[in-house]
Assembly symmetry: C2
Homo-oligomer: 365 residues x 2
């Protein structure tokens, strides 16, 4: 893995990330393919929507289809026929969301599957080994997440154990083509964030993520802590803010000096009939769109917006037709990728501040 | 509309049907786009799966999105962005399936919507006017369907009223570009079928359909009555067998001298995880396919079969991922269109009998 910081404009960064399966221009949005599929879209469509890299979930893939099958298939890329870069999260976030179904100890975490109740165990080592074995470009360390608000003790423990697990992950690396990223934790506690960043930066890993945000805090808190955490990370390494995906949040995160984002937001919105546009979001099922023969987003040049009308999509959603969620998911992903392309151009041209302001003005969400 | 019978091989026919929106080579299979969408597929995919014409449902479109909206959208083709030929059925079959929710009289049929219970009325005239107004290439007459087994009295009444409604439909025609087809009824009663055919053939319409089959009779009865009914129809007009869609049934129907077919079968199977192949059908969720890295149908050259494995599709279905139904629907439609292309070639080359025998041998369904 190679990361080159091409240009900065204020705190906003324009970079180039070279991974085993291709080059990613940053800042970049990663659509989420939880279970080896970006919901409703073929890999060709994910590509034609201008996605450069996608995210898949270790927790889900571990349970189904499982390690053996993915290895037998020739790895995750071949299994799902996506030949671009893939980042997998470590499953930490999912496992800690299970709450009553998991038990943490110093060495790892034991949990029962949400699918069939079967018992499983994640350790920093076996989670990294899984990600390496399925051949992903970027592997995330197993970390310990806390729900906000959290007690100082819970935050300290999450910081201590996450850093320790980052060290163990680093020591367990076996595969050159898979770049390991560690994760800054620390909740809404600046001293804890500083401690967390200091410990994992010392490991000199290829990249760093900011975890424990977008989990219930206010937006202002999220921006504040994203900015604070980003500033603690080395300038010459990519920075990834986990779980961020509205137009406004992404623009604010770029402003905070972040390079990579992922979120189910555009595809989940797409399935639920929520259209994202450069001028804000709207619910396609709303009566206002039944006879609206304009495109979903008149400013968008994607297949959906250049082919179909809001009235047609409104009809598909009202009739419960599968094509509706599919088309709107495609458009939403395209829109975010388009936004990122424009953001990159603005940083290159030194016009980031005015681009940012105009997007924030037009997009309340 | 123009129909040219290019070649016959035994009873099997090879023809060319020229419609307002393009040319259809027959025999042809029409995928079903009930509510202005072939479920899960874009119009581009319907085309790339080699569909030449699709079927939509007057009953469903009447209720949702309704006449006004379709007219405002510029017609059904423009609304759904399918620029090839469209045939709409008359809604007769759907209305008569409602049973307790409909009331037949000499002039038409009154029914309540399955969506919201609202009252509606179909007459031969308003159903044809609807189909003409939304701009379809082929309109079906409103007919009176009977469930099998039926009493002789019910069959006679269905034949009498269907023929009378065919006359009224013919008299109500206003639009040159929409070709009206009438429908032979008569259940499993040859004298009634003869009477039905005689009355509607006298109207000298552009084409004729065989209705009231594939509704609960045995397969042998269906084939017998399809053959019998086809022979009653003029040789120089297209013949359409309604609601037929398995590989075996289509091949048998071509053998009976039929030119056109429609069925939800390939898309319904696709959504339910049932794969159609040249060597029969199988359930993709079956444990046998979890580690099967071969294509859905090794004899198929469609996008799905040349890109993904059975193991991947099995995973998508097990994980409840929308992409599974979508991909399998595409393959199934492609497979039937491919079968039709080979059937047309066999008739042209005078090798229909051996083609038919080989398909029937390999395909139990």
């Amino acid at each position: 893995m190679k990361f080159e910081l091409v240009k900065s404009d204020g705190s906003a960064r324009r970079g180039t990330l070279t991974l085993a399966h291709g080059v990613v221009e940053t800042p970049t949005f990663m659509p989420v393919g939880t279970a080896a599929t970006v919901k409703g879209l073929t890999p060709d469509e994910v590509r034609s929507a201008h996605s450069q890299i996608l995210l898949a979930n270790t927790y889900h893939l571990w349970l189904r289809p499982g390690l053996d099958l993915l290895v037998e298939a020739g790895g995750l890329h071949k299994f799902m026929q996506w030949n671009g870069p893939i980042l997998t999260d470590s499953g930490g976030f999912q496992v800690f969301s299970l709450e009553a179904r998991r038990k943490l100890d110093e060495d790892g975490v034991t949990f029962s599957s949400h699918i069939d109740g079967s018992r499983h165990r994640f350790t920093p080592e076996n989670v990294l080994a899984f990600q390496e074995a399925i051949g992903v470009d970027i592997a995330m360390q197993l970390d310990v997440c806390v729900k906000l608000p959290a007690t100082p003790k819970a935050i300290d423990e999450s910081v201590r154990l996450s850093a320790e697990w980052a060290r163990r992950s680093a020591a367990a690396r076996r595969r050159e083509e898979t770049a390991l990223f560690a994760i800054v934790q620390g909740g809404l506690d600046k001293a804890a964030r500083e401690r967390s960043a200091r410990e994992i930066v010392a490991l000199n890993l290829p990249g760093y993520a900011i975890g424990g945000l977008s989990v219930g805090e206010t937006r202002e808190e999220m921006y504040e802590f994203a900015r604070f955490s980003a500033a603690l990370l080395p300038e010459n390494k990519p920075r990834y803010l986990m779980g961020v995906g509205t137009v406004r949040d992404i623009v604010m995160a770029v402003e905070c000096g972040i390079d990579m984002f992922d979120c189910v937001y555009p595809t989940r919105c797409g399935r639920n009939g929520r259209a994202m546009t450069r001028d804000g979001e709207f619910a396609i099922r709303n009566a206002a769109y039944v006879r609206d023969f304009s495109p979903v987003d008149p400013k968008c040049d994607c297949y959906v917006c250049t082919t179909f009308t809001r009235a047609y999509l409104a009809h598909l959603f009202r009739a419960g037709e599968m094509l509706g969620p599919r088309l709107l998911s495609y458009h939403n992903v395209y829109l975010l990728n388009d936004l990122m392309r424009d953001a990159r151009a603005a940083i290159e041209e030194g016009t980031w501040a005015s681009f940012r302001n105009s997007v924030l003005q037009e997009t309340p969400v």
